[in-house]
C-alpha cells in the first residue's frame, strides 16, 4: 500500500540527509509503528507518505515514494486526500470548521461527494469513532482525546486506505489514549485501514502493531516485527525490556502475553513470579526517599472558574526532599493546583503557605515549569537567556549557565531556544527557574515530547534536586516516569484528592495508573524493570552454593 524505493530526504539547511536510502513496503491493512529518538526523522518519514515533505517542509527527496500506486512526485497532498489521511501532532491547530459535524464533512466537500452520500458517511464516522454525543459541539470546547478523535474522523471521512498519525496519544491522559487506540484498532481490524503511526509512548501502542520501523540516528530505517526490532533498542517499552531481561522468546508485546510468561516455569527455572516472591518484600526495590520538614501547606483550598468548581477542600503537605506525582485525568484540577501553589492565582477558599508565606508574597520560594517549557524562554540565544536568568534572579553571572551544564552538558550557547531539542529546551527552562534556588519546584507534564535519553537525564536531575532538599511536584500522565522517580502519588478527580500515599501503593493498586511491570506482576508491587532485574540478581546470588 505504501512503498518507499531508495528514498533519501535532505532538509534545505542541513548537510547530512535526515533519512537515507529508505526501502519500505507496508502491506494493506497493517498497523505500522514508527519508532525513534526525538529528531531522528519520524515526522519526516510520516510526512513523506503524502508528500507534505518536501512540499510543505522544504528540502529535497531523492528516490520514489508511492501510495496506492500514486507517486508523491506527481500528486500534491490535496490530490492524495482520497487515499491518505494525515493527522499532525497538534490536531486542534488544523481545525477549519466550527462544529464537529462540519469538520468531518470538510474533506468530502472538497472531494465533491454527493450530499446524500456525505450525510450517510458523516453518520458512519460519528459511530465509528464514538463521536455522536458531541456532534454539535464547537471544536474549541472539546477535550484532548475528543479533539484527536475528531481529527482522525475528519480525514477518515474521505475513506482513505491509509491513515498516517503523528503522536496520536502523546498529549492524552491514559483513559483518553485508550479511547483513541480502541478507535484505531477497530479501524485496522474491521475496516482494513493501513495505519502508520509515530508514538513516544510505546507502551501504549506496541501491542497493536504488526510492524515496527526503527528510525536510526544515521537516517537508516530498520523494518520488521515489533519484538525483534525493538528488543535491542533503548526505546523499548517495559514489557519488551522485561522479556529481554528474562530471555523470553518470542518477546511479549502485550501485558497479557507477559503475564502468561511470568507465570510459566520454563527451561529448568521456576516462574518469574515465584522467584521474585522468594526474593522477599524489599529486595531490589527502589527505596522511598526520606522526607524532611514540611515546606508547603495547602489547607482546605477551593478554587473555580465562574460557576465551575476546579478544586474543593484540598489538604496537602509538601515535604523537603520528596518527589510527589500529581495524577488524574485532564481537567481534574492538576494544573489549577499547580498555578495556586506558584501564586499565579489565589485560592477562593482556604490557604496556601510556603515556608510561612503566601506564594505570591515570596515568588522565589516556588517555581513552576509549565507544560510547554518554551514559553518561559524569551531571548533569541541560549547565552542571552542564561544572562537574563542571572539578571532576573540577581545571581552572579554564569549561575544559570552552570545549572544548564549540570542538567544537560554541552548545549550550544549560540543556538536559538526554539531550535533546541525538547530535552535541551526543558533543561534550559529548568535552569532559569533554578537560579532562584526555589524550595518547591513544580513541573507540569515535563516528559511530554521527551525521548528515552532525555527522560533518563530528567529523572537523574530530579533525583539530585530532591537530594538537595527541594520538594518536587510533577503533574503527569506518564506512569512509567512516576514509577521511576516518585515517592508519593496524589490522584485528583473532579477537584478532590481521591488517593494520597506512597507512589508504589497508589499506582500499583490502580488499573489505570499502574505501570506495565506492575500490571504484569500484580498483585506483587513492582514498579520498574530495573527493580525486577536487581531482585533477580540477588536471588541468583543467594541460590548459588
Amino acid at each position: 500500500m505504501i512503498r518507499f524505493d531508495d528514498a533519501t530526504f535532505t532538509y534545505a539547511d542541513t548537510v547530512a540527509p535526515t533519512l537515507r536510502s529508505v526501502d519500505l513496503a507496508i502491506p494493506e491493512g497493517s498497523f505500522a509503528l514508527v519508532v525513534g529518538e526525538t529528531g531522528a526523522g519520524k515526522s519526516t518519514l510520516l510526512q513523506m507518505v503524502n508528500g507534505l515533505a518536501p512540499r510543505f517542509t522544504g528540502g529535497t527527496l531523492q528516490g520514489r515514494v508511492a501510495v496506492a500506486g500514486r507517486s508523491t512526485a506527481d500528486h500534491p497532498p490535496r490530490e492524495l486526500a482520497d487515499v491518505v489521511g494525515y493527522v499532525g501532532q497538534s490536531p486542534s491547530a488544523g481545525f477549519v470548521a466550527d462544529t464537529v459535524e462540519h469538520e468531518l464533512a470538510f474533506v468530502m466537500e472538497n472531494l465533491g461527494v454527493a450530499p446524500d452520500a456525505m450525510r450517510r458517511r458523516v453518520e458512519d464516522v460519528l459511530d465509528l469513532l464514538g463521536l455522536h454525543e458531541i456532534r454539535n459541539r464547537p471544536l474549541g470546547t472539546l477535550s484532548g482525546g475528543q479533539q484527536q478523535r475528531v481529527a482522525i474522523g475528519s480525514v477518515l471521512a474521505a475513506s482513505p486506505g491509509v491513515l498516517v498519525l503523528d503522536e496520536p496519544t502523546s498529549a492524552l491522559d491514559p483513559a483518553a489514549a485508550e479511547d483513541v487506540l480502541a478507535a484505531l484498532s477497530r479501524l485496522v481490524h474491521d475496516l482494513g485501514v493501513t495505519v502508520l503511526a509515530a508514538e513516544h509512548r510505546l507502551e501504549r501502542v506496541v501491542h497493536l502493531a504488526d510492524l515496527a520501523l526503527l528510525v536510526g540516528a544515521d537516517g537508516g530505517v530498520v523494518t520488521g516485527e515489533p519484538g525483534p526490532v525493538l528488543g535491542g533498542s533503548l526505546l523499548a517499552p517495559p514489557v519488551i525490556r522485561l522479556g529481554v531481561a528474562n530471555q523470553w522468546t518470542p518477546l511479549p508485546l502485550s501485558v497479557r502475553d507477559a503475564r502468561r510468561r511470568a507465570g510459566d516455569a520454563s527451561s529448568g527455572r521456576a516462574a518469574l513470579r515465584d522467584r521474585l516472591k522468594a526474593a522477599g518484600p524489599s529486595v531490589g526495590r527502589r527505596p522511598r526517599r526520606t522526607a524532611g520538614d514540611v515546606v508547603a501547606t495547602v489547607r482546605s483550598v477551593g478554587a473555580g472558574y465562574g460557576p465551575i468548581t476546579a478544586l474543593k477542600g484540598i489538604d496537602l503537605d509538601l515535604r523537603a526532599g520528596e518527589i510527589t506525582a500529581l495524577m488524574g485525568r485532564n481537567g481534574s484540577g492538576k494544573s489549577t493546583l499547580l498555578s495556586l501553589l506558584v501564586g499565579l492565582r489565589s485560592p477562593q477558599r482556604g490557604e496556601i503557605l510556603v515556608r510561612g508565606h503566601r506564594p505570591s508574597d515570596d515568588p522565589r520560594a516556588v517555581k513552576l515549569v509549565p507544560q510547554d517549557a518554551g514559553t518561559l524562554l524569551f531571548e533569541s540565544t541560549v547565552e542571552a537567556e542564561c544572562a537574563s536568568g542571572d539578571h532576573d534572579a540577581g545571581a552572579p553571572a554564569g549561575t544559570t549557565s552552570e545549572w544548564l551544564d549540570r542538567l544537560v552538558p554541552g548545549v550550544s550557547r549560540g543556538a536559538h531556544p526554539r531550535d533546541l531539542s525538547e530535552g535541551q529546551r526543558l533543561a534550559l527552562a529548568l535552569a532559569v527557574v533554578l537560579v532562584d534556588d526555589p524550595d518547591v519546584l513544580l513541573l507540569d507534564e515535563p516528559t511530554r515530547g521527551l525521548d528515552h535519553l532525555a527522560k533518563v537525564r530528567l529523572i537523574a536531575a530530579l533525583d539530585e534536586l530532591a537530594a538537595e532538599g527541594r520538594a518536587i511536584v510533577i503533574a503527569t500522565h506518564d506512569v512509567e516516569v512516576v514509577a521511576e522517580v516518585a515517592d508519593r502519588a496524589i490522584v485528583l478527580a473532579a477537584g478532590e484528592v481521591v488517593a494520597d500515599g506512597s507512589a508504589r501503593e497508589v499506582v500499583c493498586q490502580s488499573p489505570v495508573f499502574a505501570p506495565q511491570v506492575a500490571k504484569i506482576l500484580s498483585p506483587a508491587e513492582w514498579l520498574t524493570v530495573d527493580e525486577v532485574v536487581a531482585a533477580l540478581a540477588v536471588v541468583e546470588q543467594v541460590g548459588r552454593p
Binding site: 470546547t141 481537567g331 513552576l368
Partner: protein
Amino acid sequence: MAGAAMRTTNVAVLSMLLASVAFVVASRRSNAPWARSFGSFLKLGAFVVGIRMVIDIIFGIRVGDTLLFTLPSIELPSWAAGVTIGGPVTAEMVAKSFREGFRLAVLLACFGALNSLSSPYRMLRALPAVLYEAGVAVTMAVAFAPEAIAASTRLREARRLRGRVASGPKALRGIAVPLLEDALDRSLLLAASMDVRGYGRQGDLPPARRRMASGALLAGLMAAAVGTYGVLDASAPRYLVLPAIAVAVVLLGLALVWKGARSARTRYRPDRFLGPEWLVAASGAVALGAMLVAGRNDAAALSPSVVPLMWPTVPTLALVAAVAAFIPGVAAPEQPSIEPERSASHPVPDDVTVVDA
C-alpha cells in the same frame, strides 16, 4: 445596520440603532464560544469614544464659543502651524467629538453583533463556490484573534513565572515576537491540514478558464469595494456608485459561471434560506434604505449642527430604520443551543494557561 449608522451623527438616532442591535443579540445569540464577543465589542466601543474625545479635546480644532474650561496650551514651532495643543475647550467641541466617537462605537457594536450571532464558518458556507477560497482566508483571519488572545495570556503568565513585571517596551517585544512566531507556526499547520484534506483541488477546469475566472473575481471584488464605499460615504461622488456596483455584479457573475459551474465541491447540509431568513435580510435592507432616503430628504436632521449647539431631533424615517433593525430579534430562528456542559461553556484548560473567567 452598520451602513445606516455611518450615515448619521445624530446621537438620538444612533442610540436607537444601538438599542435595536443589543436587543437582537440578547434575544438570538447561542451559547457557543463566539457568541460572547458582543460585550468585548461594546467595551471596545466605549474605549473608542473615550480616546476620540480626549484626542479631540487636546488637539481638536476650536469651534463654538460656549467655553467649558481652558487647558494649558503649548506653543508649537512655525512648521507645525495649524496644529493646536490644549487651549480653550468648548461644549460644541465635546459634543462633536462625542458624536463622532459614538458613531464609531455603534459601528463596532454592529460588527460585534455579527460576530456573536453567526460563526465565521457559517457565513463562509453561505458564500457561492466561487468566493469560497477567498472566504476561507477571511475565516482564518477572524479565527486568529481569540487564538492570539489566549497565547498572549499564556505568555504574560510565563513572564510572571520568571518573576518579571509585565510592562514596558521590552515586555511588549517579549510578547509580540513569540506571538507572531506562534501565529506563523499555526498558520502553516493549518495550511497543511487543509491541503491534506483536499482543499484547493482543481478538478478538471482548463487552466486558461481558471485564470480568466480568477481575474474576473479579483476585478469584481475591487469594483464591489468601490461601490460599497460609495454607498457608505455620503461625500463620495454619486456617479461612481451605480456603475461600480453594476460592474461588480457582472464580473462576479462571470467568475461564478466560469468557475463555479465546473467546481467539484459539494456542500454538507447547507443552511436553507426560508421565510425568517429573508425577513431578516429584508429588515437590514429596509434599515439602510430608510436612512439613505432620510439623508437625502433631511440631511440637516441626520447631521445636526454643533454651532449653535442644539438637541437632536428624530426624523420619522430614521425611526423606521431603527424599528426595522429591531425585527430580527423577533423574526430570526432560534439558534440551536449547545448543551451547557462543563467543558462546553467554561472550558477549564489542563495547563497553566488559566484565564480568570
